[in-house]
Amino acid sequence: MARRSRSVEGLLPGAQPWNPYAYTMPALILMAVMVVYPLMYGVYIGFTNMSLQRFFEYDLIGVRNFVSILTEKELWEVLVRSIVWTGVNVFLHVAIGLWLAILLNRKLPGKSIIRVILILPWAIPQYIAALAWKTMYQHDFGFINLVLKQIGLSPVPWLQHPQWSFLAVILVNVWLGIPFMMMISLGGLQSIPKELYEATDVDGGTGWDKFRHITLPMLKPVLVPAATLGTVWTFNTVNVIYLVTGGGPGRSTDILVSYVYRAAFDFYRYGYAAAFSLLIFLMLMIWAVLFVYRNRADEGAY
C-alpha cells in the first residue's frame, strides 16, 4: 500500500503545491500550542527547583535535578520494573488479542455478539475499571478471593504483597488493553486473501505452519506499528497503577511514570518531576528510533 501512494510522485491532478500545508495547518497549530510549547516549558522547569513552596520564586539550578534522579537508589529498580511491566503487558496484549482475533476470524454463529462483549473493557473509562478491579482484589471480601475460597484455595494477598500487587496491576492493564489489539488484528486478518491459506492446505501444511508462514508475516505491517504505539502508551500509563495500588505497598509497584506522577502531584516537586519526564521522553525516543528502524516498521507506517 505504501508502494501505491509512492506512485504519486508529483502532484495529483487538480492539486496545488500548497494543498498539503493547508490540510495539515490546523493539526500543526493545535499541536504547537498544546504540545510543543508545554513541552518546552517542561524542559525549562526541569532545570529549576520549582515546587509548591517555590511556585513563583523558583531558581535555575542547572542539572541538579538530573543528578539527583540518576543517583536515586531506587531508580534502576523502578526502571527494570517499568521495562518488565511494558514487556509483559504488550506481549500479552498482542498474543491474547491476536489469538482471540484468530478464533473470531471464521464462520461462527454468534460471533458478532461475542466480539461486542470482548470489546467492552475498552468502552469503560479507566478510572471506573480500576476501581472495580480494586474492590475485586480486596482481601476478605473481594470477588477473586471469595471465588478462590469457594474452590478450596487459600486467599491471595493481592494488594498487600509486593509481587502479588505487581501481578494484580498487570492483570488489570492486560484486561484493558486486549480489545484494542484484538480489533487491530481482526482488521488485518480480514484483509489476508483466503487463497493463501488454501495453497498451504494443498501442500499439506498444519495450522501452525499457516500461522508462522502466512498470518504473522502478513500481519506484521499492522502489528508492528500497533505494538510500537502500545509500548509507548503502556510505558506511560499512570491510571492503573495510581488508582489500583498507588504504587504500593511501599513503592513496590511503581513504574517510572507513576513515580513521576506522585513526585509531581503528591509531593509537589515540579522541577524534579519535569526533569524526570524529560529523561523518560528521551529514553522512549531512543528506543523507538532503534526499534522502528530495526523492524522497518516505517514500511507500513510511512
Partner: protein, 289 residues
C-alpha cells in the same frame, strides 16, 4: 447425512472439526466472562440497599436489591447535568478532532511534501512525553487565555490528545484507497479539495467513525485534566462529578456505582453501534492495497 453435512458446512468453517468448535466456544466463553465480571461487579454494587463496599455474598443480584441508588443519582444528584456537560465536551471534541485529523491524514497520505516525514515522526513522538507533565504548562496556558472553567478550555487539550492517533489512523486508511479513483474526478476539472470531499472522504467512512469514537472517548473518560481546569460545580463533567462522591471517610459506593454504570452505558452503546467499523476502520499500518 449429506443434508446435515451441508448444514454444518454452512455454519462453520470447513476445516473446523466439531471438537475444535467446542474448544473455540469454551475459550471464547471464558474470555467473555473475564471481560464481563468487573462490569457485573459494578452493577452488583449499584443494586445494594446499603452503601457498603464489601459483602461475602456471591449472588448475581444482591439480596434486597433496589434501584434506589439510581433514583438518587438521577433525581437528587446532578448526574444529568454532568452527563450533559460531558456530552457537549466529548461531542465537540469528536467533531473537531475528526475534521482536523481527516485533513492532516489526507495530506500525509496523498502528497509528498517538504516536512512530511518529520510531521509523521513528530505526531508519533508526541505520544512519548509523559502526559501528566504537560498538565502544569497546559493549566498555565489556559489560565492566560482565560479558558479555565470553560468548555473550550477542555475541548482544546482533549483535541490535542486525540488528534495525533486519529491522524495516523486516517492516513493509514487513506493509504488503502486506490488513488486512481481521484484521477478520474480530477480529469473532470475538480479541485483537489472537491475530489477529497466527494471521493476519498466518503470512502474513508469507517476510519472517520473510528476516529470519532476515539476522540469522543478521550473526553468522556478523562479525569486528570478536567479536575485541574474545572472548579465550578456546574461545569463538572462525569468523571469529576463522580469522584466528588468519593470522600476519604465515607464514600457512597452504591451511588457511585450507579453513576459509573450510567456513565458506561452511552460509551458501551457507541462501541456496539460502531463495532462493525472497528474491524476495518482501525488501521495504524495496513496490509490492504
Amino acid at each position: 447425512m449429506a443434508k446435515r453435512m451441508r448444514v454444518s458446512e454452512g455454519l462453520f468453517d470447513k476445516g473446523d472439526s466439531p471438537l475444535k468448535i467446542v474448544a473455540i466456544y469454551l475459550t471464547l466463553l471464558v474470555a467473555c466472562l473475564i471481560s464481563l465480571i468487573p462490569i457485573w461487579m459494578i452493577f452488583n454494587m449499584s443494586l445494594r440497599p446499603d452503601q457498603s463496599l464489601y459483602t461475602t455474598e456471591l449472588s448475581f443480584i444482591p439480596s434486597g436489591a433496589t434501584l434506589e441508588n439510581y433514583r438518587v443519582m438521577l433525581f437528587e444528584k446532578p448526574l444529568l447535568g454532568w452527563m450533559g456537560n460531558s456530552l457537549i465536551v466529548s461531542g465537540t471534541t469528536a467533531v473537531l478532532s475528526v475534521f482536523v485529523a481527516s485533513h492532516a491524514g489526507y495530506a500525509l497520505s496523498r502528497f509528498r511534501f517538504y516536512g512530511r516525514k518529520s510531521m509523521l515522526t513528530f505526531l508519533l513522538s508526541t505520544q512519548m512525553f509523559p502526559a501528566p507533565m504537560l498538565l502544569l504548562p497546559t493549566f498555565l496556558i489556559l489560565s492566560q487565555f482565560k479558558l479555565l472553567n470553560s468548555f473550550t478550555g477542555m475541548i482544546i487539550p482533549y483535541m490535542a490528545t486525540a488528534v495525533p492517533f486519529a491522524t495516523w489512523m486516517m492516513k493509514g486508511f487513506y493509504d488503502t484507497i486506490p488513488v486512481e479513483l481521484e484521477y478520474a474526478a480530477a480529469i473532470d476539472g475538480a479541485t483537489n479539495l472537491q475530489t477529497f470531499y466527494r471521493i476519498t472522504m466518503p470512502l474513508a467512512a469507517p476510519a472517520l467513525a473510528v476516529s470519532a469514537l476515539f476522540s469522543f472517548m478521550t473526553g468522556w473518560s478523562e479525569y486528570i485534566i478536567a479536575r485541574v481546569i474545572l472548579t465550578k460545580a456546574a461545569m463538572y463533567t462525569l468523571p469529576v462529578g463522580l469522584v466528588t462522591l468519593q470522600s476519604a471517610f465515607n464514600t457512597e459506593w452504591g451511588r457511585y456505582s450507579a453513576g459509573a454504570l450510567m456513565t458506561m452505558i452511552p460509551a458501551m452503546a457507541l462501541f456496539m453501534a460502531f463495532s462493525r467499523y472497528l474491524v476495518g476502520g482501525l488501521t495504524v499500518g495496513g496490509v490492504k492495497g
